[in-house]
Symmetry: C2
Subunit: 359 residues, 2 copies
DNA sequence: AGCGAAATTTGAATCGATACAAGAAAAATG
DNA sequence: CATTTTTCTTGTATCGATTCAAATTTCGCT
């Protein structure tokens, strides 16, 4: 059976009601966008006609072309869209972005795609005034793609050396040092590192070679911070296993297995993300090991979940919400300048780290 | 100081590079949208010119007007945007919506506003092909506003009698009965209800009068389900306090205080949302009462947080993700028909409910 | 009634692309 | 070399509004 929609040939345009009401395009437009400059009588006549003809109001598609501004910012990632709602880090970040958008009445467009072609298309065709980029796996490609749009954009997590792109991130070296010092102070001497990616698509133990040629400087900086600090305690960092994961469960578990399979197990794990740290806590429990009894763990990020798990996670907390707010504001009040901001971090000591076992 | 942006008079258009490359609009357009039909030589010439002039590629604003389809669905609420990332129920729902969008490559536009005028404007000007409406507080206004756009939309939570709007919800009566029976079976006889709103902007104990004239039929149905079932156990439902909250912390605590201040305290609380149930658990702990020792609690929704808290929450679980997926698909493959779907619910018994204390 | 000022209304131009019928050029065929 | 095909290219119309200078109407006042 034919639906109501199919009945009407095509949607009513502003021009249609203008003609029907016997006024010009311009006046009809004014009735909706600046009603105060139209004579009351005419205004009512046009409105009545619009009502009668079932006019849906000025179509934003038309307005947009004329006005040029969408009043929305795009948030893009190479992950699927559900990442924004599943990942705790992303959620907190989005909350910050939301706050800034709420304050100015701007909207948020979520942009993503599983595969490369679609990502390109989605970034190219997103109706936004600028982008906030979640630079995780594949971040550099995303930056290149976005640059093409010639719209303002901010990369989150400062993962790039490239000084020409605006970015907000944290002091990775300082944060990593905080974590390392905390564990060293507790007497730990045997460490392992669960690392984020140094380059796209890698997984497994990272060689010094890989570290040196890291594309993601954030990862490199965190490792550098760990090592610098541990060196000061006389620890031979060359012997510390560094396992690169994809920051999710499977590869993190693989990393833990590899780390604990090889020789003398660590008494402390430095994880470059809370996500990996939380997986590690679960994994240890499953192995019959206790945290912090047998192994201490310190994460990085400061996601809320870390406070809720058992034991609660010691971590290097980033001001995630504030980063999100600032990123959104950078787009919203964009002035053409490239800005690179570095935020401070804070060590939050909770239950997952404790004194090293004697012996 | 003048920025680079101010330097160039205005962004380069497709027409500009067409002229510069000595081809027509049409050909230039084809170079980008259907490169295969343009002779290789010409194609390269145009592309080179585009590159040289710093053309950002076809502007989606222009394309949109011509094409008509945005390829994005709007998700709207009367709450601030951060609601989508803060509220556990919303998050799970959004995950479902995201999955459907990922599958078809569609984008998601988040629409909201704190105040009424902005809400109207944001709904009117959202660049989307349809809406999914989170009908919470103020949902009916949102529906009215959205209807004006004459775009397909789906109301979540079936909160309306209005049979002309597409909606997806759950069988509230059946779900409520499940919860009530569970507690009655455990021997409870003194109940209290933490209720969602019956109408906008109300808070406090609900009179039969208020219940009768409920605008939100979802709330009414849940209450009816509770009462029907409890009646079968010979419980006088007229004596059960029903406190209407705004489904957040403050008013829920106020409700608990009011309930426990009045006469004989309940041994079981029926909460119409997990959110309220979780607040109740915390509140009881703070009062030195234990759940389920002193008071049993059963929630409604089945958000993941409920499984994690202490004690874990017994609740009536909705298939939230599936609802989200279906809602998004309704918009994505819209066919003009009004659809109203009712999903089943499931009682998930966890630690927050236990046998009633003797005496 | 007549005149200038103020308030409205008009209509063409513009925003930036895509679609398509028709024309032109190149390639294939006799 | 003429003719038919095939492959490209062109130019115009269209998508749906907003803007703004110019034209017109209304109004207040003498």
């Amino acid at each position: 059976m034919a639906s109501l929609i199919e009945g009407q040939a095509r949607p009513i345009r502003l021009a249609d009601i203008a003609k029907a009401a016997g006024v010009s395009h311009g006046t009809a437009s004014n009735v909706f966008s600046r009603p105060e400059i139209v004579r009351a009588e005419v205004r009512e006549r046009v409105k009545a006609m619009a009502e009668k003809m079932g006019y849906a109001g000025p179509d934003p598609k038309g307005r947009l072309l004329r006005a040029g501004k969408v009043n929305a910012i795009g948030v893009a990632t190479t992950e699927p869209l559900s990442y924004f709602f599943d990942d705790p880090f992303a959620r907190v970040m989005m909350a910050g972005i939301s706050q800034a958008c709420d304050a100015t009445g701007a909207g948020i467009a979520l942009v993503s795609a599983a595969n490369q072609e679609k990502l390109a298309w989605n970034v190219q065709s997103a109706l936004v005034d600028g982008f906030v980029l979640f630079c995780i796996e594949g971040g550099s490609r995303l930056v290149d793609l976005t640059r093409e749009r010639k719209l303002p954009f901010v990369a989150l997590e400062l993962g790039f050396d490239d000084e020409t792109v605006s970015a907000i991130g944290v002091d990775n070296v300082a944060g990593a040092r905080l974590a390392a010092r905390h564990l060293a102070d507790l007497g730990h001497r045997r460490f392992a590192v669960l690392s984020l990616a140094f380059a796209d698509g890698r997984t497994g133990f990272a060689t010094p070679e890989i570290v040196r040629s890291a594309r993601y400087t954030g990862t490199r900086d965190r490792l550098a911070g760990y090592f610098e600090e541990l060196s000061r305690f006389g620890i031979d960092t060359a012997r510390i296993p560094v396992y690169e994961t994809e920051n999710e469960e499977t590869s993190t578990k693989a990393g833990l297995e590899a780390i604990f399979a090889a020789g003398e197990p660590p008494t402390a794990i430095l994880a470059m993300s809370d996500r990996m740290a939380l997986v590690a806590i679960d994994w240890l429990k499953a192995q019959g090991l206790s945290a912090p009894g047998d192994v201490s763990i310190v994460g990085f990020d400061g996601v809320p979940d870390g406070a809720l798990c058992t034991p609660p996670l010691t971590t290097v907390a980033q001001p995630i919400t504030e980063i999100g707010r600032r990123a959104a504001r950078m787009i919203l009040d964009h002035d053409g300048a490239v800005r690179r901001e570095t935020m401070g971090v804070e060590l939050v000591v909770r239950g997952s780290s404790g004194p090293a076992r004697k012996g």
